[in-house]
Amino acid sequence: MEAALKALRKAPPTALFGMAIILFYVFLAVFAPIISPYGETEIVGEQFEDWSPDYLLGTDNLGRDMATRLIYGARNTIGIAFITTCLAFMIGVTMGFLASTLGGWVDQLTSRVVDILMAIPSLIFALLLLTIFGTSMPSLIIIIAVLDSTRVYRLSRAVSQGIVVMDYVEVSKLRGEGLWYIMKNEILPNAMAPLVAEFGLRFCFVFLFISALSFLGLGIQPPTADWGSMVRANADLITYGILTPLIPAASIALLTVGVNFVVDWFLHKTSGLRE
């Protein structure tokens, strides 16, 4: 705990800025119903009303309060991206560790399958699968998680290949520990640093990916509030010189920048400690 505080005090301003952003977004997401003035899908006024004390950021194309939608959007977009990234890591890390621990044909088979999956650009692949399975929330989460787990697989396999050959893993095998025990208690703790950094980067990627899909009308479906679709639905305002629709887009960019700053610092720190 003390070491963590010490590290925090030494963190560069960019990392502190990134952490502040992340905390702010998490706060918005958790307390969305308390902070927001109206309900998520509540129609409160006319279409496209101006900024006013009643509607802080005006209203959207259906007369819903923009500020409310923005706050709920934090909850939905970030929540879904987070769940998807977690799922991608569960699949990717398990497969990657299995491939490197078992080796042989398991490794060959999974690696070749991943090679082929990665040969198709993920946006194109996701669009193909969304056509087939439809754009419901569960299929969105599972499709993106599976596509993204290929990247996680590559990294966790590479990292754990360096760990599997260590003496302590050998000792653990001789002691008769099972595969699951070795993966969980010997490999995972030693692979943590690069995996945590990768989690941040993958989260950004997934977050941008889902926003892009929602913007295209194929991601999170209405009436659920979401930043990507908010931009698209209100984009007409931009041609009239009203920049409100840029706020959700900017919110996406800001969070991604924040996470990237923190990851940069973390990578710098953990790689510095190793050298």
Partner: protein, 318 residues
């Protein structure tokens, strides 16, 4: 020399294998549907006779491997079947649009590649300087922004406030080259901004990597001029990573075009793909995905082959 040929041949064979596997995936993905395509499209209320007729029309009554071979053969001859939504020939729908997409991607690439290489090499040479740090923050924010954010900022600024460019890129077959360049300026700029950031960071990283190698230090210690070190010592070995960076980003451009086309209502393949996904027009989605995937794989393949061909260690074997 024969060593190079073997390596290139191996890489090409692997590429061909990947292409076949990818076409299989795109074809077979439809088989994952619960029930089949006919049921999914016609809905549960459809009469059994209608479903049966539809199946015959789509040749769903044949086993999958026969249909795959037939589909692939027809695709290679340019016959992509008919759209389910409007029954038009898919090749007709795709032809012009794919040309438009390639035009836009090439337009962006012509601006982006020299710019990114120049900025990246500069950042590597003056690393940790104020310029390097500033450009690091700028490129990071650019990478972090969704493409549509960049696009709408450009629309709000260059199209609405200043009125320099149109915010909608409507081109058709009769549009002349200059007019076309003018109308697609904003989408091209959007893609340039997004891709320059990536390309620049990759260029910077590969050059820094190179400058850290012992033979460059040796050249510096011999007292050679900075210019000579870079042109004669660093550059021959830098070609492979630089070409790699360029081609990878071209592949990225081809795919990144999808969102940008939608923002600017540009009649390209990306927009057709998005429309067809929302209509669940499976044959069109399959054909467009195949075209995108093949372009992407071929570009990656080119990157790998060029990297082998420009590797000085392979070109001058001992």
């Amino acid at each position: 020399m024969s060593q190079i040929l073997t390596m290139v041949a191996q890489r090409l064979a692997l590429g061909l294998l990947t292409l076949i596997a990818v076409s299989l995936i795109i074809f077979l993905a439809v088989e994952l549907l619960p029930g089949d395509l006919a049921e999914a499209i016609l809905g549960q209320a459809a009469l059994p006779e209608t479903v049966a007729a539809f199946r015959r029309e789509l040749r769903l009554d044949l086993p999958p491997h026969e249909r795959y071979i037939e589909w692939l053969g027809a695709m290679m001859q340019g016959d992509m079947g008919r759209s389910l939504a409007n029954n038009r020939e898919i090749s007709e729908l795709i032809g012009v649009r794919f040309g438009n997409t390639l035009f836009l991607a090439a337009y962006a690439a012509i601006i982006a590649v020299p710019l990114a290489l120049f900025l990246g090499i500069l950042a590597a040479l003056y690393r940790n300087s104020l310029y390097d740090r500033a450009i690091n923050v700028v490129t990071l924010s650019s990478i972090s922004s969704p493409e549509f954010f960049v696009a709408y900022i450009l629309i709000a600024w260059l199209a609405n406030t200043l009125g320099w460019f149109p915010s909608i890129s409507n081109v058709h077959e009769g549009t002349g080259l200059l007019e076309r360049l003018y109308r697609t300026a904003l989408p091209a700029m959007t893609m340039t901004l997004v891709v320059v950031a990536h390309m620049m960071r990759m260029t910077r990283a590969s050059i820094i990597n190179l400058l850290a190698s012992p033979y460059i230090e040796m050249a510096n210690l011999k007292g050679l001029s900075r210019m000579r070190v870079i042109v004669h010592h660093a550059l021959p070995n830098a070609w492979a990573p630089i070409i790699n960076v360029i081609v990878l980003n071209l592949a990225f451009l081809i795919v990144g075009v999808v969102v940008v086309e939608v923002v600017f209502v540009y009649p390209g393949l990306g927009q057709l793909l998005i429309d067809s996904v929302s209509k669940r027009d499976v044959p069109v989605v399959q054909a467009s995905c195949l075209i995108f995937a093949v372009t992407y794989i071929l570009l990656n393949l080119t990157a790998d082959v060029l990297a082998i061909l420009t590797n000085p260690r392979l070109m001058h074997p001992k």
